[in-house]
Amino acid sequence: MTALEWYVTAGKIGLVIGLLMTVAPIMNWVERRGAAIIQNRVGPNRIGPFGIFQAIPDAIKFLFKEDSIPGHVNGFYYFIAPIIVLIPACMTFAVIPFGDPITIMGQTFKMQTADLNVGFLYIFAMASLGVYGLIIGGWASNNKFALLGSMRSSSQMISYELSLGLSVIGLVMVFSTVELGPMVQKQADVMWQLGPIAIPRWGIFIQPLGCLIFVIASFAEANRLPFDLPEGEPEIVGFHVEYGSMKFATFMMGEYMNMAVASGLIATLYFGGYQMLPGMGTLLDSLQLSPAAYMWSKLALQNISLAFKVGLFMWLFVWVRWTVPRFRYDQLMDLGWKMLFPLALLNVFITAVMIYLGWV
């Protein structure tokens, strides 16, 4: 690899990890403030404009709290569990593309940290690892309630992984690729032309049912309400009862990162990924820039579009959290196995029939 390639790769890794790390404090504020506004309260408003820097004193508090380790835990695994939650969440974002390939000094770079030809299989591989943090955390706590909590949450995650995987199969059948880059590029095509409005071939328009299942399953995978049995702060004992201070905060950070990854996936698979928002393409063409400036401004607009879409879905996570109550455990399993799983199979079947008939 040349020096330039090293720089670009390091830059991309830095960008992705940096963004994911900043997501947690920002979303923390969005969540608290959003919850407050939805519940007709004021919310945190002391630090910074609208309380936007609320996360800073929170972080300071978490860092300087006494990090007490209960005597009965299994030291090594107790220590490593929060880290294990964090790592897959960081790694998953690697395959999400955030722009068209760009050319610097005659070399083409893909705007994607890792271009793997297994595409989203990598994402499922990483998602299936998120379970380990929960299991290890619950087991190492050496507390029967924590162990039960970890069992509950890991069975939830395993159950919903099935629906999550199956719901994307339809999309793979339509686009006949598993790689996320080509998948996003194919979503730029026009499906229908209704006068001046062009409906693109976004995943949501081709696979509405698959999209719905994917969104619901990713809520469960990210352990967010209405499926937040792993945490269930007020009522049920979760896997992290024995955790405190920064270790607990790390679990929460992992949750927010999972949320960001899930939003990124929903945007990439079903909402055109980095494809520009309506109007942006016209704006870009009307500026009549030089090729280099055109490339960079296009990249910027694409990044903004992806960020906007991801932000929208992050808000959806928050919005749903403060709307619906939690599912009971049996309801959760019923929904996963008796509702989403058959629906996902049905979706695969319908897609196959439609492809056979040549409709999509």
């Binding site: 030809n117 595409g119 499922f124 990483m126 890991s154 690729t177």
Partner: protein, 190 residues
Amino acid sequence: MEINPAFFYIFAGLAIAFSLLVVIKKSAIASAFNLVCVFFSFAGIYAMMDAHLIAAIQIIVYAGAVMVLFLFVIMLLNADNAAFDMHPIGRGKRLVSASFVVVMAGMFIWVFKNTTYLGPISNFSNANVEAAGGNTQVLSELMFSEYILPFELTSVLLLAAIIGTIAIAKRKKPAALLNGGSAAKGGNAQ
């Protein structure tokens, strides 16, 4: 793609170290966690050989599903406490085991010394696979066209296993009913 030897040795070394830990650790759960790390090291080696699909499947199937089930079973049966009684083994057994180890090691060395690199099978060279759209596509096309029968037969086998499991798990109920139901009730009351 050429494997960078440094990375290969790192992953291979990790695999060996964690495999040893699997055997040495006394707690069944710790062994299981170490086994997950072994799978990871393997996945790393596969990924460096450009076999991304195999690496991903290694993680999805083994690390993500099989080992989670293992852990569940270990935790539910509480096998961790009942773990291995480390009573010393007799001299005869030791001798037999040691001789087996030597024979195995000899076999490995012989195999590695005497086999030559066969090269890519038929026309599946790296360049050809890349041209046909990456190994995920090539592999899945083969799996769903030429090898569809074995693939489907495997899934039927798995289905049979699932049905068998359910049948075994469900058997308890009729037995309780055979005793007139009152026995089951009495059992609950106690």
